[in-house]
């Protein structure tokens, strides 16, 4: 195992976060805080309690998940696409590094960045709404697993993208709608029966509800179904990235 290479890629990517602090950390924290203010404090005051918690508190796990998903995908897709775009990917490809080491370096850095943003958002949420976490270890486990899974997914997008448009298409056209329609801001029961059935096909629903269960011990979906869904998606991403990088898709001819 080339540990020095993993370390080099990891800190090189973390250094990019330091150089772009506003975009990487402040921007997602600010936009999520706006959700807390508008939906939590202002509109939330007019909505009765859901599953025994105030609406403001109810939406925290969903908004946290929304930010983690989008940040993880954006961090890692950009992390691998940018060297492809500038051409500096040559030195990663020419170095004595295995595919696994490349993935650990890039995805590890991306997941760390998302985790940092997630923790800051959690702290920020306490300024606007009442927050309790019934199962903190489970929450931490889901937080890490989500960051890793979607960083891998983003890495795959960055690997296969040939231009900036392709880089943006999947996050904007697919991920954002899935996240908004995945029960971040409402419970499934609030929907008409037909849309309830449709929502059960949305994988994000299981993630959001898993996170909500770790906070309040109640959700639309059984916690084990949520965890199994997340692990299954992680496995799909691992397989996808492994195939793409071994075959050299997007990097090697």
């Amino acid at each position: 195992m080339n540990f020095y290479a993993i370390r080099a890629i990891y800190f090189h990517e973390m250094d990019r976060m330091r150089r772009t602090l506003f975009q990487s950390v402040l921007s997602p924290v600010l936009s999520t805080s706006l959700y807390f203010i508008v939906f939590g404090s202002v509109i939330g005051g007019m909505i009765p309690q859901i599953e025994g918690v105030s609406y403001g508190s109810f939406i925290v796990p969903g908004l946290l998940m929304l930010t983690l998903l989008t940040q993880s995908i954006s961090n890692s897709s950009f992390g691998i696409f940018f060297p492809k775009f500038t051409g500096s990917i040559y030195e990663v490809l020419a170095a004595p590094i295995s595919s696994l080491e490349i993935i650990i370096g890039f995805v590890g850095a991306s997941a760390t960045k998302s985790l940092i943003v997630g923790v800051i958002i959690l702290i920020t949420a306490t300024f606007f709404v009442e927050l309790e976490i019934q199962y903190p270890l489970l929450m931490l486990f889901l937080l890490v697993l989500t960051c890793l899974t979607f960083s891998l997914f983003g890495f795959l997008i960055g690997l296969l993208s040939e231009n900036f448009e392709q880089l943006q298409v999947v996050p904007l056209i697919i991920v954002t709608p899935l996240v908004f329609l995945g029960g971040s801001l409402y419970t499934v029961e609030m929907l008409p029966e037909f849309w309830q059935n449709v929502t059960y096909f949305n994988p994000v629903l299981y993630l959001v509800n898993g996170m909500r269960w770790s906070f309040y011990g109640a959700s639309d979906i059984n916690i084990w179904v949520s965890v199994i869904s997340l692990v299954a998606f992680l496995s799909i991403c691992v397989a996808g990235v492994a195939i793409a990088i071994t075959k050299g898709y997007g990097t090697k001819e």
Partner: protein, 307 residues
């Protein structure tokens, strides 16, 4: 001398069916400066990209230091440093971090003394804290060389190292390359500047349309394939050549004050004696004689044209 790089029956066809290399065989000796010459699109970059692990070969094998580049990729790649053709650098990163990053990628522990030495050798030490986008083109190229040397490689590939570089900087770069060779590094460079190969390379390979046309020592190539030009200065200007000289390959130059005669150094009879005799009989008065060896450029053009 021991071979450092050994290429056997190497071919490469890209996914768009373009055949970039066709059955290349090549051995590069330890501690030599080897130049790969060829026009644009000849296959030079594909060849070094395969050796460095960036492009996958279609057929054939490549060994670096007796290790296979695919089976033992960690061993081969750790011996190699690569300076790419394009200035592919992260523009917002500082020089020192960028060079140190490459050392890490190659699995070497941090060594600030080594990085400092390289940056000083390449006159980059005073720019170590500058962002890449604040550097001139020549400095960026030197940063690429510093990165390639950061992990102390024994084989250095330079892909068009002086492309777009002014004459003065080009000569500085040649000095850098010669100094590296003196320190024991084997240098393989691609270029389409013939004078570059002529000035610094021990051996030259000419590649065209994916095929190796010739591999030889630079001096041998010039000697064996070279034509010589005999320039004969005259006392009086002429406008046309006497009919008796029509059998010779002559050109009137210098506004009629000189005649150039092309001859092959390898042929049994160069024709010089009979030419001078015939010129005397035609009444031409000779002032001076001068011979010049054909440059590698002329040889290269001839070789590529023949193919």
């Amino acid at each position: 001398m021991q071979n450092v790089v050994s290429v056997k029956n190497l071919s490469k066809t890209y996914s768009n069916q373009f055949q970039a290399l066709n059955n290349i065989n090549l051995d590069i000796k330890q501690n030599e400066i080897f130049a790969l010459l060829g026009p644009n699109g000849a296959g030079k970059t594909t060849l070094i990209s395969i050796i460095c692990g960036i492009v996958t070969p279609s057929i054939g094998t490549v060994e670096v230091g007796n290790y296979d580049i695919i089976k033992d990729y960690r061993k081969t790649r750790s011996q190699i440093g690569l300076v790419p053709q394009e200035l592919t650098l992260e523009q917002f990163e500082i020089v020192y971090n960028n060079v140190s990053y490459t050392r890490g990628l190659y699995g070497k522990p941090p060594n600030p003394q080594h990085i400092e030495k390289i940056l000083k050798d390449l006159s980059l030490w005073d720019k170590k804290d500058s962002k890449i986008n604040e550097l001139s083109g020549g400095m960026k190229r030197r940063v690429l060389i510093a990165k390639a040397l950061s992990h102390e490689p024994s084989v250095l590939f330079l892909d068009e190292p002086t492309a777009g570089v002014d004459v003065e900087l080009r000569k500085d770069m040649w000095e850098v390359i010669k100094n590296l060779r003196n320190k024991g590094v084997t240098i393989i460079l691609t270029t389409h500047y013939i004078e570059e190969a002529e000035a610094i390379a021990d051996r030259v390979a000419v590649i065209n349309k994916g095929e190796m046309i010739v591999v030889d020592e630079t001096s041998n190539l010039i000697k064996s394939l070279g034509q010589k030009t005999l320039t004969i200065d005259l006392h009086e200007t002429i406008t046309t050549l006497p009919e008796s000289l029509n059998n010779y390959k002559l050109t009137i130059v210098n506004d009629g004050l000189s005649i150039d005669y092309q001859y092959d150094t390898q042929s049994k009879q160069t024709g010089i004696t009979s030419l001078l005799q015939d010129m005397k009989e035609a009444g031409l008065k000779l002032k001076d004689l001068n011979t010049e060896q054909s440059s590698l450029e002329k040889i290269f053009v001839e070789l590529v044209k023949e193919k």
